[in-house]
Subunit: 230 residues, 2 copies
DNA sequence: TCCCAAGTGTGAAACTGTTCACGGTCGCGG
DNA sequence: CCGCGACCGTGAACAGTTTCACACTTGGGA
């Protein structure tokens, strides 16, 4: 896969013309992250924008007590790092690779002038941000209206869509993520997640393994979420 | 105050040239809202962007059980409605006037072409969105790391900065908001807020009144937040 | 290949915050 | 100027989660 193809695969640049892409390409570098490697930490100054080419990143913050909050898991085609770059503040979260990951990096001094010349890209970027706001506020809402089982079910389903694998073709979807991370994502403890998952395992709805959850009956999970929302 | 002055007072347009402002002005309308009047509801189609000229709006969503979540209180100079407009989805929340409010409205069909011709405004808009993401993720973090008193204290302080009044010049700051709204904002029940506030009143930290909280000792509240965070 | 760090499973006890069920009071709109 | 709706105050019982304290498993790296 050549560099241009890579760049085109990052959503916000997908709509650009060839020659604009070429121009932008010259300003990019690529970067590789090993599993567990940290891309940036909350509080760092942030002048780079990253596009994910392959792999997966988790976005978290850590309280001093060690209590983590995970905001999301990002995959290929997604953009990360725009916030600090756009408002000029510090990085708002810590970003860590959960597996080997390839990134495209773009520095603010190249990006801002580029956006000024290519308003469509700027609008596209704003669109990405708008979606981010939407998902954050949805989750905030869930967190204070939906009881724990509903939240776990909902997040499992959404993870299965964005990051699910099917070990056997046509078989059930598997979500690769330790229970601790699931807990951080849902806003609860590892223990609570474990207990809920075990309960579902007994009902045959999921199957558990070290670092993974297999959704045997997604429909039952949907039923759980439906019980609470709206 | 003439129309142009109004437009310039809305943050994202503050950096525009005179002639650009004039151009944009022709596309705007003004709108007035009475107290408690609803600007839009979650789920509506959304094609307007609003700039707040005066007054205050609250942004909320309501679960079917009647449990509300308040995302924020917006004041003069702030922009609202960008999200639905940028991602083409439904309105993501309900917006209600808490007092008499004057708005500037701008339709998508005028705004998008305008942004394409004025990339700086597009970038500015992206900046607003970035700030929105930041505040939402901060709150998400608080909500699952900080116990209730800390969250209440923190929100009171931030409200006092953005919407506080000083009934007597140089006197203590007063926040005008019913306890129910405070609860929705912090993500708890009215009762819990009331109990905490009463406790603080007994300690002389705040003073309560119908629909208002007077921060007599903001420093003590800061101490409460400091106890938990970081 | 063996070891150990990371991850999982589980119960009991403690607690934080909610729910429920009231009564009281304020102040504004008719 | 008075009534009624909106807002405040409060306690008791309850529920859902967290905390704590373990034992157990597993897979990958030295």
């Amino acid at each position: 896969m050549d560099r241009r193809e890579l760049l085109g695969s990052v959503s916000i640049f997908a709509s650009l013309e060839e020659k604009e892409l070429d121009l932008l390409l010259q300003a990019t570098t690529t970067k590789k992250l090993k599993p567990k490697e940290v891309l940036c930490r909350k509080g760092d100054p942030g002048n780079q924008l990253y596009g994910i080419l392959s792999g997966a990143l988790k976005v978290t913050t850590t309280g001093t007590d060690g209590k983590d909050v995970m905001f999301g898991l990002m995959g290929p085609g997604e953009v990360i790092g725009e916030i600090a770059l756009l408002d000029g503040e510090e990085r708002s979260a810590t970003v860590t690779a959960v597996e080997g990951t390839e990134l495209l990096t773009l520095h603010r001094r190249e990006l801002i002038p580029f956006l000024e010349k290519n308003p469509r890209a700027a609008i596209g970027l704003a669109g990405v941000l708008a979606a981010r706001v939407r998902s954050l506020s949805d989750r905030a809402e869930d967190r204070q209206t939906m009881p724990l089982p509903g939240r776990i079910a909902k997040r499992l389903l959404s993870l299965s869509e964005s990051h699910g694998k099917r070990p056997i073709v046509g078989g059930p979807v598997e979500v690769r993520m330790p229970q601790q991370d699931l807990a951080d994502l849902v806003g609860t403890t590892r223990e609570s997640v474990n207990k809920q998952l075990r309960a579902w395992e007994d009902e045959g709805i999921v199957e558990l393994g070290r670092g993974r959850v297999v959704l045997k009956e997604p429909a039952s999970l949907e039923a759980v979420t439906a019980m609470f929302e709206l």
